[in-house]
């Protein structure tokens, strides 16, 4: 009985310790606050601020701060920029999160198989990984999205398909390191099957770097989605920050605001995500903090 509680305490403490370190990291906390604010605004903003992002509601190119109704002005068609920012964040964040999830699933699966089994499995999977690293990611994603017609799902899948190699390499390295440790040998000795060792013994111990990597992947995926929508390859029926920049691109010399605010929104989202990622990294590796 007392043994079990001791084991539980031990199992909890690394995460708790990481959280304790994270809580003391001011930039990381700031990132968490900014990101929460952005997520809440995109989720619930429309309850407080009515208006469809696609509706033409006013004269085009109304500068910000002139009309109280449209605090950030209007774009080249006379659409409200605040409405665009509030509704455009949802798809960007959703695609970013989904793409990161897909990236992690593919990357972790292939990396774990390569690292765990080694030999020809490793060889084959690493050659495939190298092959995918040769394809310029954005271009390949553009091709995929165009071939399979753009929707939020195809975009998320395309981003996932082009971004997994780095995660795979990281997972493989972690698995190679951890599989040599005593507790893995011990699990083998009591007859645990490969699947169990991989997913229930090694993976939880490889979690810290993978969590950090997942966070940073969300940031990259958001930039990716923004780039695709900017090029006009997003779902044309869904407003997104990248699309707002792309659509107003021709008129930047007449009106700076329709492109500036969505860009700032993307920047602050990715910035806060990367602050969180850096904070997690520091929290999991206290020794590196002095750097």
């Amino acid at each position: 009985m007392s043994d079990r509680t001791a084991a539980q305490v031990r199992a909890e403490s690394p995460a708790r310790e990481a959280w304790r370190m994270f809580r003391r990291n001011i930039p990381a906390l700031a990132g968490l606050v900014i990101l929460s604010a952005i997520v809440l605004a995109t989720l619930y903003g429309s309850f407080f601020y009515s208006g469809d992002a696609f509706d033409i509601v006013w004269a085009p190119h109304e500068p910000p701060g002139v009309t109280a109704e449209f605090p950030l002005g209007t774009d080249y068609l006379g659409r409200d920029i605040v409405a665009g920012l509030l509704t455009g964040g949802g798809p960007t964040l959703a695609v970013g999160a989904a793409a990161a999830a897909i990236t992690m699933v593919i990357g972790i699966t292939l990396g774990a198989l390569a690292g765990f089994f080694g030999g020809w499995v490793d060889n084959l999977l690493m050659r495939i990984t190298e092959f995918f690293q040769v394809l310029p990611a954005l271009l390949f994603a553009m091709v995929l999205v165009t071939l399979f017609s753009p929707s939020l799902w195809t975009i998320a899948i395309a981003i996932g398909v082009v971004s997994w190699p780095q995660t795979a390499r990281l997972t493989r390295a972690e698995f190679l390191k951890i599989k040599e440790l005593e507790y893995v040998t011990a699990a083998r000795a009591i007859g645990a099957r490969n699947g169990r060792i991989m997913w229930q013994v090694i993976l939880p111990n490889a979690a810290p770097p993978l969590i950090v990597s997942a966070t940073l992947t969300v940031g990259v995926a958001i930039l990716f989605e923004a780039g695709l929508s900017f090029l006009g390859l997003g779902d044309p029926n869904v407003m997104s920050w990248g699309l707002m920049i792309g659509a107003n691109r021709e008129y930047i010399l007449d009106a700076w605001w329709p492109v500036t605010f969505p860009g700032l929104a993307i920047f602050f989202t990715v910035f806060s995500v990367s602050l969180i990622g850096d904070g997690l990294n520091d929290a999991f590796n206290p020794k590196l903090r002095s750097r």
Partner: protein
């Protein structure tokens, strides 16, 4: 040092390129719809006659493996197909545009490595100093800014507020008949903003990386030896430390090259730079698949070549790797 290494590396690179060709082939076949229609492109206004000639050229009535053989054979002969939108061979389209892309990408790469390493080395001299703080903040910001948006912001700045650099295209029409060096300078002048836009993200990353790498190297025994010899601080930093700290930077530079090409795609679109990115964008909007596949092929080839050059320079920089396979 062994030319065997270089040959093996090139052989592997060619294998990777064969993979890209097969991938291109599969993508067209996997896309929904008749491959002939896909190849002709939605905007091509394909007639029945045209589709028949496409089926003939690509052997679309043959079994899949034969089709693949025909396709690979075509690529080996330098025939990447015909763009039905531009009404020109794809190889010709790309030949016209690959130069500007290489110019942009290589300039941005050199610029970001040079400035980034310089910043990182200066920061590493004082791990807790102002420069170090600046490098960390700059790196986090540089990572989070969408590259196309940086470009747009620079265009707004330089088009209206500070009109010292051209914000569009690669050449000035009025200089079409000027002497060659005037034209070269004109291209360089046009290159400033796109190259800087593209460089700035990676510059930040190289600065952070080289700072960390320098800090590690500066703590090593051979740096103490160099100081004990009576070497100047500048010599210690740039001769003894940087040569060693450069190794991880080189690795990342190689890995980043693919991302750099992706970034170039966006930057070319923003600045109307007449390169492959611009071509990719135009052909994707027109669903001109032969051209898209051609761009994918050449962009991948650039990455493969960059990787070979990286591996090779890595061996030049690190004598411990020479003589090994």
């Amino acid at each position: 040092m062994g030319s065997g290494f270089l040959l093996r590396r090139i052989g592997y690179g060619l294998l990777l390129m064969l993979g890209v060709v097969v991938l291109n082939f599969l993508l067209i076949r996997l896309a929904p719809g008749d491959p002939a229609v896909v190849i002709a492109g939605e905007m091509g206004g394909a007639t029945e006659e045209m589709l028949a000639s496409i089926r003939e050229e690509y052997g679309l009535n043959e079994p899949l493996l034969v089709q693949l053989g025909i396709y690979i054979g075509n690529v080996l002969r330098g025939d990447l197909g015909e763009s039905f939108f531009f009404n020109q061979p794809v190889a010709h389209l790309i030949a016209l545009r690959i130069g500007p892309t290489i110019l942009l990408v290589v300039t941005a790469q050199l610029l970001s490595i040079f400035l980034g390493v310089l910043l990182g080395v200066l920061a590493a001299r004082r791990p807790n100093g102002v420069m170090s703080a600046f490098v960390s903040v700059f790196a986090t910001i540089g990572y989070a800014v969408p590259v196309f948006w940086t470009g747009i912001m620079l265009i707004i700045l330089f088009a209206s507020v500070l009109p010292v650099f051209p914000v569009e295209g690669m050449t000035s029409v009025r200089l079409r008949d000027a002497a060659w060096y005037v034209q070269w300078l004109d291209v360089a002048h046009h290159l400033v903003l796109p190259a800087f836009t593209l460089a700035i993200i990676y510059l930040a990353q190289y600065a952070r990386l080289s700072r960390a790498s320098m800090l590690e190297v500066l703590g090593s025994d051979y740096i103490r030896t160099a100081r004990a010899k009576g070497a100047r601080e500048r010599t210690v930093l740039f001769r003894h430390a940087l040569r060693n700290a450069a190794l991880p930077i080189l690795t990342v530079a190689g890995l980043q090259f693919g991302n750099l090409i992706s970034g170039a795609l966006l930057v070319e679109t923003v600045f109307n730079w007449p390169g492959m990115g611009r071509l990719a964008f135009d052909s994707i909007l027109r669903r001109d698949y032969p051209t898209i596949m051609g761009v994918l092929f050449f962009a991948s080839a650039m990455v493969v070549i960059a990787n070979i050059l990286t591996d090779w320079s890595y061996r030049l920089a690190d004598p411990r790797l020479r003589g090994r396979t």
